[in-house]
Symmetry: C2
Subunit: 207 residues, 2 copies
């Protein structure tokens, strides 16, 4: 490497370090996964993102079969996550950025009694879904969001998925979701984080 190209390499290195140091946590994490932006295959199907269990959990609604005449539309635990890049944006601005993805992993109701009492305990993993916001890609009819199911089955989930019909998902979100097609009324963590900055992730105690 000659002196000039070495100088260029050092300048690039310095810029890289500066960029990394300046990035908020969400961005560093995002970069490591490189899966926080939706990706589509040649058929226009959303490719299942990787690493969603390291996204930020927002809530766990449950409408079990036992309370719905044995035929609940959604009998599983819903473990709902927001991608870290959009979480960082929501903490900062209180809005869902274009590109926001919510992941919903399903688990069957497993045990219904334990030493802690009668109730519901997560059983086997049973499916995976994504909600994705892209006002240019999706129509006003769905509020600029689309909903994808990668199967209601144990892993492996389907590799890619086509958007669900409006009636299957968007209709209920349009009718009942509190904020921008998202059921924020059931996600107190989003309520605490909305525009709250780093405090939204949980404030630490002082020595």
């Amino acid at each position: 490497m000659n002196s000039k190209s070495r100088s260029r390499a050092y300048a690039l290195l310095a810029a890289t370090v500066g960029t990394i140091a300046a990035m908020p946590v969400g961005e560093v994490f995002a970069d490591a996964h490189e899966k926080y932006e939706a990706a589509f295959n040649s058929d226009g199907e959303l490719i299942r993102p990787a690493g969603w269990r390291e996204w930020v959990f927002v809530g766990s609604p449950l409408t079990p079969n036992s309370l719905n005449g044995g035929a609940a539309p959604f009998p599983e635990f819903h473990s709902v996550y927001i991608d870290p890049k959009s979480w960082a944006h929501y903490k900062k601005t209180g809005t869902f950025r274009e590109g926001t993805m919510f992941a919903k992993e399903l688990t069957l109701v497993g045990d219904t009694a334990a030493t802690s009492g009668v109730g519901f305990f997560n059983g086997d993993l049973q499916g995976f879904e994504i909600a994705h916001k892209d006002s240019k890609r999706y129509t006003e009819e769905t509020g600029g969001w689309a909903y994808y199911s990668f199967g209601h089955q144990p892993e492996p989930y389907n590799s890619s998925a086509a958007a669900m019909p409006t009636a299957a998902c968007a209709a209920c979100h349009t009718a009942a979701a509190a904020e921008d097609m998202v059921f924020t009324q059931y996600y107190p963590i989003l309520g605490a984080a909305k525009g709250a900055g780093d405090a939204g992730a949980g404030v630490g105690g002082e020595e």
Copy 2:
């Protein structure tokens, strides 16, 4: 800056970039928070860690009052997280490292019916607890773990907490937890992640 000191600076810069590039995701995230190791105040109380909502969610057991004669010992949703450093270790080794922390944030049961059916939806935030593994600090009687409650109330939670008596927490964990004082039988995400490497975080689809 003279030529020699510039060379040293570049060498340090290169070493820094190399270190960052070589760090697994959990480590990068951990470094950013600097709160993944338990810290204690001068009274020996555990200081409430910051940023637990960005830790890794593992499960959401629920034993509501409505199914326990109106007097459930644990009536709230339990949102249970493992700290990212220990999650990375568990993905790699399938064991809970010394220093592992589980966070448990409580939310009241809010709505019990929605467009999706009858059930349970997260209401207001209502408390925060930590389980911490340290075989040297804690006795065999508690299996090398201790349990801390930062209050059953809305935020702000208590700034620090003393370890709970053995009978209050450790006794049930000793009697019923499947693995190393942790109720892994109710956390299918830990089951999927145990020794599974990055696949434990959720495998992405292929183009």
